[in-house]
């Protein structure tokens, strides 16, 4: 079922962040939401996840959808290993499957099962957060500026992995970088 966003508005402390925004997110496709910083992209995702309620308007088509998400911040268990972080949201996977995913993400040189992610670089933490979202048993994948902080070579590798692993899922990619929408083969682009 498509997700139908109908005239939602949201303000914080009197400042209007979303003003009567409407859109249709087609099921099983990749939709990119392009906007500069502060335009309400993250607010839109927070409404879709149920973390925020819109002041007015409605969202339909989320029933029965399992959400997985890459947040703007990594939100990892810093004292746990990369594999443990993935198993937190994807207990159906084996440790070997987690390692395989992490290797695809280019985190092969670290001890994926023992080393706490606290010791990882910013880019590596980011990749673990992306891997966690890809591994989760969800059919709606929300990506909030997921590739921020990755170098071009790593970014390309990670985007390829994202494309492979998110096939058939409804994907909403929030970004301000137009090149990412092309690389992620977005079926629709919404400008906020």
């Amino acid at each position: 079922m498509d997700i139908v966003i109908d005239r939602i508005s949201k303000s914080y402390g009197g400042k209007l962040v979303l003003d009567g925004f409407s859109a249709v997110i087609p099921e099983g496709k990749t939709t990119a939401v392009l906007a500069p910083s502060g335009a309400g992209k993250t607010t839109l995702l927070r409404i879709l996840t149920g973390l925020e309620k819109p002041d007015s308007g409605s969202v339909q088509g989320l029933e029965g959808k399992k959400i997985s998400m890459v947040f703007q911040e990594d939100r990892l268990l810093l004292h746990a290993s990369a594999v443990r972080n993935i198993l937190l949201t994807a207990p159906q996977l084996t440790a070997a499957e987690c390692r395989e995913l992490l290797t695809e993400m280019g985190i092969a040189e670290r001890d994926q099962e023992k080393e706490p992610v606290l010791n990882f670089s910013g880019g590596m933490k980011r990749r673990v957060a992306i891997a966690r979202a890809l591994a989760a048993d969800g059919n709606l994948l929300l990506l909030d500026e997921p590739f921020r902080g990755l170098d071009p070579e790593t970014k390309e590798k990670v985007m390829e992995c994202c494309l492979r692993r998110s096939s058939g899922k409804t994907v909403i990619l929030v970004t301000h970088d137009e090149s990412e929408t092309a690389a992620m083969r977005a079926d629709r682009i919404i400008r906020l």
Partner: protein, 252 residues
């Protein structure tokens, strides 16, 4: 505290031996053999106590009374902290009570409690009363410090309650809880022993301390004090060991 800081704060054996040597050396200059005893005299006196059944019965009963209060404080303090974190009215209700317990001097509690409970139960009650606000406050502080963004992440991914507890909540709360256990273990022993001295129940360390004061048995006083210090230290180390083991097992 990081490992380096913890290592710097650790009590070194050489430092303990240095101060014992200073104490022993003082014996050469102080001639008063009634009030002043050396560490060697204390050790000899303690060695005489060790083989007696009365010593072990006394230690056992005091240990049960005081650690019983401490364990109750751990259990009830943790449960109340969880309830306070979940329900604001419980937090509001308990706030003045915990503040009062923290502020009232131990001796006032002991004197009030001795009117209400038997001397046998006094040490347990006082130990519990002193430990409760520490465990309550520390655990509640830990719960309050749980990262809101991690709670949101768990909500979005619909992580079940048990897994959230094991991997998100427990690691955040544990350092606070652990610090509470550490402080409370020592305080419960201090307050519990003081309660025994006032309540003087049969087969208690407090009774021996009281008698040592009456008969001016300084060696006895120091020997039993040393026993309290060792029991307090042992309780703290055992409790922390168990907390760490349980935490490791839960998070495995």
């Amino acid at each position: 505290m990081n490992k380096e800081g913890a290592s710097k704060n650790r009590t070194r054996l050489w430092a303990v031996l240095f101060w014992l040597a200073v104490w022993q050396a003082s014996g050469f200059f102080i001639e008063d053999r009634v009030f002043f005893v050396t560490p060697v005299q204390v050790a000899v006196h303690l060695a005489r106590l060790l083989p007696t059944a009365d010593f072990w019965q006394t230690v056992g009963r005091s240990y049960l009374r005081i650690t019983g209060g401490f364990l109750l404080a751990v259990l009830i303090g943790t449960v109340l902290a969880c309830l306070s974190a979940a329900f604001i009215r419980v937090r509001e209700l308990l706030s003045p009570l915990m503040l009062a317990i923290r502020s009232i001097p131990v001796v006032s509690f002991v004197i009030l409690a001795i009117i209400l409970v038997s001397p046998r139960k006094l040490a347990t009650l006082i130990s519990f009363t002193m430990g409760l606000p520490i465990l309550y406050t520390n655990t509640l502080d830990g719960i309050d410090e749980i990262d809101r963004s991690m709670k949101e992440m768990a909500d979005v991914f619909r992580i079940p309650a048990m897994r959230r507890f094991r991997f998100i909540y427990l690691p955040e709360v544990l350092p606070y809880f652990r610090a509470g256990v550490r402080v409370a273990a020592g305080l419960c022993w201090k307050a519990g022993a003081a309660a025994e001295v006032i309540g003087v129940p049969a087969f208690s360390i407090g009774l021996h301390l009281y008698q040592a004061k009456i008969y001016i048995e300084t060696a006895d006083l120091f020997a039993w004090t040393l026993v309290i210090v060792l029991l307090s230290f042992g309780t703290e180390k055992l409790s922390l060991f168990l907390v760490d083991r349980v935490a490791r097992a839960v998070q495995k």
